[in-house]
C-alpha cells in the first residue's frame, strides 16, 4: 500500500482520536475511583465513630452499674437500662455498615458476644445488689470476670479500629497509585496526540509547498515551451502564408493544395498552443477576471463579428436576438467564451443552417444561449465535452480543426464569473449551449437594465446573414 500524505494524515487523526478516547476513558475511571475513595473515607470515619460510641456506651453502662451498686439509687439503674437498650441498635447498624467486609462481620459478631456477656455480668450485679445488698455484690465471684470482659471489649474495638485504619490507608494508597497511573496515561496520550497533530500539520504543509512548487514549475514550463514553440512557428507560419497567397509566384495545383494543408495545420498548431497557454493561465488562477458592467447584447454582436469570416466559409448564417441586459463580467473573456461556442456551432452545422445567439434574464443572471441545428450531442457526452481534450468524436479535432480545449476554457471562464455552463441537445436536431453570468447589481448600478420587461425582448431579430451582409466592421 502506498503511503500517501492523505493516508498518513488520516492515520494521524485516527491515532489522535484513539488517544483522546483513551484519555476520556482513563479520566472517567479515575474520577469514579476518586469519588469511590472519598466515599470509603467517610465510611471508615463513620465505622470508627460507631466503634467509639460502642466503647463509650459500655463505659457509661459500667459507670451506671457501679453507681447503682454503691448507692442503690434507682436513677442509675434506669440509666443503665436505657444504655443497654441502645447498644444492640448500634451493633446492628455497625453490622449493616460493614456488610461488604466479612472479616469485620466476624469481629462484630465476637464483639457482640463479648458485649452480651458483659451485660449479663452487669445484669447479674444489679440483681445481686437488689437482693443481697452491696456486700453480696462484693462477695460475687465473677467481678474479676466483668473486668476481664471489659478489657477484652476494649482490646477488640481497638483492634477493629486499627484494622479499619489500615484498610483506609490501603485504599488511599491504591487510589493514589491509580490516580498517578491515570495522570501518566493521560499525559503521555496527550503528548502523543500533540505529536501526531504536529506531525500531520508539518506533513500537510510540506506537501502543500511541494505541490505549489510543482504547480509553479508546470506553469513556468508551459509558458516557456509556448514561447519557444512560437518563435519557429512564426517563421513557418509567415513563409507558408506568403507562399500559399501566390504573391511570390504560382505553384501548380497539387503544390497549392500542399501549401493549403501546411497553412491550415500551422494555424491549428498555433490555436492549440494559444489554448494550452490560456488553459494554463486560467487554471493557475494567475489571471483575474476584470469584471466591469457591460451589455450582453454588445458582447454578442462583437463575438458574431469575430466569427463572421468562419461562418462565411461554412455558409452558416449567424443570428442574434438583441439584449439590453447589463452583466458584471470580463468583457474579453465573455467574448472568448461566445466565440468558442459559436466556432463549435458553426463547425458542426451543415451549410445553409442557422446559428442563433440570445441572452435572457433568469433570476439574477443573464443566460446566454448558442443554438445550432447540427448533428447534436449524444447524452453520454454532454458532460464530458467540457473536460479537456474530450470531444464527441475523437476524429473531430482532426476533421474540424478544433483544439479540444475550447469548452474547457469556456467552462473555466464561466465558473470564474460564478456562472454555470451546460448543453441541451437532441441527436440529429441540434444542440444549445447555455451559460449564466451574474447581472449587474441593480441597486448599485447607475444604469438601469430594463428589468420589468421580460427577457424575451425580441424587439427585432437581426438576421445577419453572411451572404447578404458581408462584414465591413473589421
Amino acid at each position: 500500500m502506498k503511503l500517501t500524505v492523505e493516508r498518513t494524515v488520516l492515520a494521524g487523526f485516527v491515532i489522535v482520536l484513539a488517544l483522546l478516547g483513551t484519555v476520556g476513558i482513563v479520566s472517567q475511571r479515575t474520577i469514579i475511583g476518586l469519588i469511590e475513595d472519598s466515599k470509603w473515607v467517610t465510611h471508615t470515619h463513620v465505622v470508627l465513630e460507631m466503634l467509639q460510641q460502642v466503647s463509650f456506651r459500655i463505659s457509661q453502662a459500667e459507670a451506671a452499674v457501679r453507681g447503682f451498686v454503691i448507692t442503690g439509687d434507682s436513677t442509675f439503674e434506669s440509666q443503665y437500662e436505657s444504655i443497654r437498650k441502645q447498644v444492640p441498635d448500634l451493633i446492628s447498624e455497625l453490622r449493616t455498615k460493614t456488610l461488604d467486609n466479612p472479616d469485620e462481620q466476624d469481629s462484630i459478631a465476637s464483639l457482640q458476644a463479648l458485649i452480651e456477656k458483659r451485660f449479663a455480668t452487669m445484669d447479674e450485679a444489679i440483681r445481686v445488689r437488689k437482693s443481697g445488698g452491696i456486700q453480696a455484690v462484693l462477695a460475687m465471684s465473677n467481678t474479676s470476670r466483668g473486668r476481664e470482659l471489659s478489657t477484652q471489649i476494649s482490646a477488640l474495638t481497638a483492634q477493629m479500629r486499627g484494622d479499619e485504619d489500615r484498610l483506609l490507608a490501603n485504599r488511599q494508597l491504591r487510589a493514589q497509585l491509580s490516580a498517578r497511573r491515570a495522570f501518566l496515561v493521560v499525559l503521555s496520550a496527550l503528548i502523543f496526540a500533540m505529536l501526531a497533530v504536529i506531525g500531520s500539520v508539518v506533513l500537510v504543509f510540506r506537501d502543500l509547498t511541494r505541490r505549489r512548487e510543482i504547480e509553479r514549475m508546470k506553469s513556468e514550463f508551459v509558458s516557456v515551451v509556448s514561447h519557444e514553440l512560437r518563435t519557429p512557428l512564426t517563421s513557418i507560419h509567415g513563409s507558408l502564408g506568403l507562399l500559399a497567397s501566390g504573391l511570390l509566384g504560382k505553384v501548380n495545383a497539387r503544390g497549392e493544395r500542399m501549401l493549403e494543408i501546411a497553412v491550415s495545420n500551422t494555424d491549428r498548431l498555433i490555436r492549440l498552443l494559444n489554448d494550452i497557454l490560456d488553459m494554463e493561465t486560467l487554471d493557475s488562477g494567475k489571471v483575474e477576471m476584470r469584471r466591469i458592467e457591460c451589455s450582453a447584447g454588445e458582447l454578442i454582436d462583437h463575438a458574431i463579428e469575430l466569427m463572421r469570416p468562419m461562418a462565411q466559409n461554412q455558409r452558416v448564417s449567424l443570428a442574434a436576438t438583441r439584449s439590453e441586459l447589463l452583466i458584471h463580467a470580463d468583457r474579453d473573456r465573455i467574448i472568448q467564451c461566445l466565440t468558442n461556442l459559436l466556432s463549435n456551432a458553426i463547425k458542426f452545422s451543415e451549410p445553409g443552417k442557422p446559428v442563433r445567439v440570445t441572452a435572457n434574464r433568469i433570476g439574477q443572471d443573464a443566460r446566454f444561449e448558442v443554438a445550432d441545428q447540427g448533428k447534436g450531442i449524444p447524452e453520454g457526452k454532454r458532460t464530458s465535452i467540457f473536460e479537456r481534450f474530450q470531444q464527441v468524436d475523437t476524429s473531430d479535432s482532426r476533421k474540424r480543426g478544433g483544439t479540444g480545449l475550447g469548452l474547457a476554457i469556456s467552462r473555466n471562464i464561466v465558473e470564474q464569473h460564478g456562472g454555470k455552463i451546460w448543453v441541451e441537445s437532441q441527436v440529429g436536431q441540434g444542440s444549445t449551449f447555455f451559460f449564466t453570468i451574474p447581472l449587474v447589481d441593480q441597486e448599485n448600478s447607475i444604469h438601469h437594465a430594463p428589468s420589468e420587461k421580460p427577457s424575451e425582448i425580441v424587439t427585432s431579430e437581426r438576421e445577419s446573414n453572411v451572404e447578404t451582409h458581408p462584414s465591413d466592421r473589421r
Binding site: 509558458s223 518563435t231 512557428l233 502564408g241
Partner: protein, 124 residues
C-alpha cells in the same frame, strides 16, 4: 507614399519573413537589424516611419531598446510596435504602458500584418 519600416529582431528567419510580408503585401521599404543596439543606430540614420520591435532579445531587450529610442531626440517620435510571443493581455498592457504604439502577437498572419500595422498607426 511608400512607408519605411525598421525591423528589430534577433531571429534572422523572422526578420526575413516579416520583411517579405511587408514588402510584397504593402509595398513598403523594410530595413532590419538583429539587435537592439544595431537597430538604434539604423533608426538614427535611416529615420524609418515606424519600428517593429521584438520583445525578447539577448543583451538589450525590446523595452530597453524602446527606452533608448525615446531618450534620443532623433528617434523619440518614431512609433514603435512590439512583436511579442507573449500573448497574454497583462503583457500587452505592460508594453503599452512603457510607450508602445501597439503590440502584435507572434505568430502573425503575413497577409494581414501590414494592415494591422496601418490600423495601429492610423495610416489608412
Amino acid at each position: 507614399m511608400s512607408k519605411h519600416i525598421l525591423l528589430i529582431d534577433d531571429e534572422d528567419d523572422i526578420r526575413e519573413v516579416t520583411a517579405v510580408s511587408l514588402e510584397t503585401v504593402a509595398g513598403w521599404r523594410v530595413s532590419s537589424a538583429g539587435s537592439g543596439r544595431a537597430g538604434i543606430e539604423l533608426a538614427r540614420t535611416a529615420r524609418p516611419d515606424a519600428i517593429l520591435l521584438d520583445v525578447m532579445m539577448p543583451e538589450q531587450d525590446g523595452p530597453a531598446t524602446l527606452r533608448l529610442l525615446r531618450n534620443d531626440k532623433v528617434t523619440a517620435e518614431i512609433p514603435v510596435i512590439f512583436l511579442t510571443a507573449k500573448v497574454q493581455s497583462i503583457e500587452r498592457e505592460r508594453l503599452h504602458a512603457i510607450g508602445a504604439a501597439g503590440t502584435l502577437a507572434k505568430p502573425f498572419n503575413p497577409l494581414t500584418l501590414a494592415n494591422q500595422v496601418k490600423e495601429i498607426l492610423g495610416w489608412r
